[in-house]
Subunit: 349 residues, 2 copies
DNA sequence: AAAGAATATCGAAGCGGTTCGAAAAGAGTG
DNA sequence: CACTCTTTTCGAACCGCTTCGATATTCTTT
């Protein structure tokens, strides 16, 4: 078994000192081109790779980025956070980082502090989704760069990567308006969630821009949650008022599907007669009939953006706070009545 | 900003030497109970945690387990491998390891060797799914412990964690038999896949155990792939022979759904008249009507088993090869006609 | 050509642990 | 009580790399 080469071997064989080899390794200035070339040759020859551990110990950089998500978020059926994680994973590779994933419970508990924090084994932390304030405070205390995903904190200035919720609502309402709808209802579910609120605001703003009335009886904001059943109940209300909506925009797909469920059960033809658009682009939207039109969120990009930002923060040692907004896209399927010909195709897909 | 305590601080404050503190830290023998207690007290007092990097450098253990999955496997719509990964993640935590995930292409390429291997930053590697032989050979050369998940290698002796495919088939066929079916068809799709083959063998064996004939015209093994369309085509054949099956067992859910599709289109009532059981328990099985009965595979357990095994291998420095078989479960829903009362409940779920 | 500035290279001191052999302290024994 | 044999504790070397200050070299400038 061949011995694994160390920087010493490279130094000896190249007739340069340890220090010079190290400088080459790290692409630092003040090394002659000759030296650089020669050292690099030897490195290739030996198949040398510096050890993470040794490097980390000496340089106080672990080369890892922590990724924290609350257990309730992560274990949800929808792979939203899984996708975000994958996004970070792939982007991290480009920047030569590894992602260390850990779930914690929502509220801060010292007993749950991730090992990578205790062991000083992460150069920064990405947090996905809403999380207890204590967590963020803890990491700020440790002077670790932090990037939030899909969760903004008004109190403390922390960098964040967010979904463009308002633009999503705008896309949906615009699309409905352009298809001739004017009585457009909105199912918010629970307005205390910041994303939902933004979607609501986007809805209102767009309605007004088109000179349309935001009718109170066509907006449901009083649910406890934002589940399918809430959409069902909301539809119950929306469709029993005088002059019911000809289109519904739901703040998420689950509620949109609940809404469709009610409509189908009560003889309102989804798509043809009345349009429905959701938000999130969950799998289930593909399995309902007609398939749900929705606003697609590029989860992977949320992740990759966060890593890119994190890499900058670590490199520049800056603590400048930035907020990145990731664009969404309108996905037109059959539930909004403007893509009828595709309706039959999807069946076997 | 308080300075981060080191082992030296602990030593000084406790009036023991570095070495003794280190022994306590690692739960090594030959330390008096008194010393152990006192050192531990100081550790708590100081909130001391050894640094991964320092530890790793000195002990030649990274504390990481690499997780390799081919990109084509990992980017599939079904979260099979994602779940496996999560399984490893959670189990790893218990053993104080971190999982470093990387995707590679199926065939071995030196340009794609994961960084954690080059940088000697993993104590072992878990590989999920079929992968090019070169990869495994490479890791064996590096003398790294390897555990395969859902993929066994006949040539080289490598530990593996496998799904109990045969038992799954047994469960399915037994259930159908117990519900009075005797003409039970099987849709294999592509038999070159080892899992499919095992399922086929389980099917045959169980049929014979019940004294039932394995009719060639009720078994489809000639597809190129194992997708929904293959199930559809298989059904086309199965249901146009004399004495068609009263029950179908498909080697995976996708094909089972395709089969159901055909049946529904051609007036064969699924569940009531003819039973269908799939394999894998994919999401989509919940969204078809009637919902698909299937064999559930505990993906997380595949992952956690692999990590447990890996932890053993690292600890014991053993290279004993083990094969762990993870049991599967029969999930009875409505497509096999024996759970009718639940049929209406699932609608809103 | 000499002095000064800029650039290359090097030596040595860490980084924060583990580990091994030696020394010290206890325990057991005749 | 002196003498082994264990058990406990300790000192020092070392893991593989970075970094800083010192030294050597080359380039400018006058």
């Amino acid at each position: 078994m061949k011995k694994i080469p160390t920087i010493r071997d490279v130094a000896q064989r190249s007739n340069y000192s340890l220090s010079t080899v190290s400088l080459v390794l790290n692409n630092k200035p003040n090394v002659s081109e000759t030296a650089r070339r020669e050292v690099r040759t030897i490195i290739d020859e030996l198949g040398y790779h510096p050890r993470r551990n040794a490097r980390g110990l000496a340089s106080h950089h672990s080369g890892n980025i922590g990724f924290i998500v609350t257990d309730d978020h992560f274990s949800r059926a929808e792979p939203f956070y899984t996708k975000i994680f994958l996004g970070t994973e792939f982007e991290a590779r480009k920047h030569n980082y590894y992602i260390l994933l850990t779930t914690v419970s929502r509220s801060f508990r010292t007993s749950e502090i991730p090992r990578f924090l205790l062991e000083h084994n992460a150069d920064g932390v990405i947090v996905a989704g809403e999380i207890g304030n204590g967590w963020i405070e803890y990491m700020m205390e440790q002077r670790l760069p932090v990037v939030l995903i899909d969760y903004a904190l008004s109190r403390r200035p922390v960098s964040a990567v967010l979904i463009d919720n308002e633009a999503g609502a705008r896309l949906a309402v615009d699309h409905l308006y352009n298809n001739g709808h004017t009585r457009i209802g909105f199912i918010a579910g629970n307005m205390s969630h910041p994303s939902i609120r933004s979607r609501y605001e986007g809805y209102c703003e767009t309605m007004m821009r088109h000179g349309l009335l935001v009718r109170r009886d066509l907006v449901c904001t009083d649910a406890e949650t934002t589940a399918q059943a809430d959409g069902y109940r909301a539809a119950q209300r929306l469709f029993t008022v005088p002059a019911p909506p000809t289109a519904v925009f739901a703040a998420n797909d689950a509620m949109a599907i609940g809404c469709m469920q009610f409509m189908k059960e009560h003889g309102v033809t989804v798509g043809e007669q009345t349009a429905v658009i959701g938000f999130d682009n969950i799998e289930a939207g593909l399995h309902v009939a007609p398939r749900l039109s929705t606003i697609g969120v590029p989860c992977e990009e949320l992740g990759s953006n966060a890593v890119r930002r994190m890499a900058e923060m670590i490199r520049d040692k800056t603590s400048v706070v930035t907020t990145t907004v990731v664009p969404v896209e309108l996905i037109v399927r059959e539930s909004c009545g403007s893509n009828r010909q595709a309706a039959s195709v999807g069946a076997l897909s």
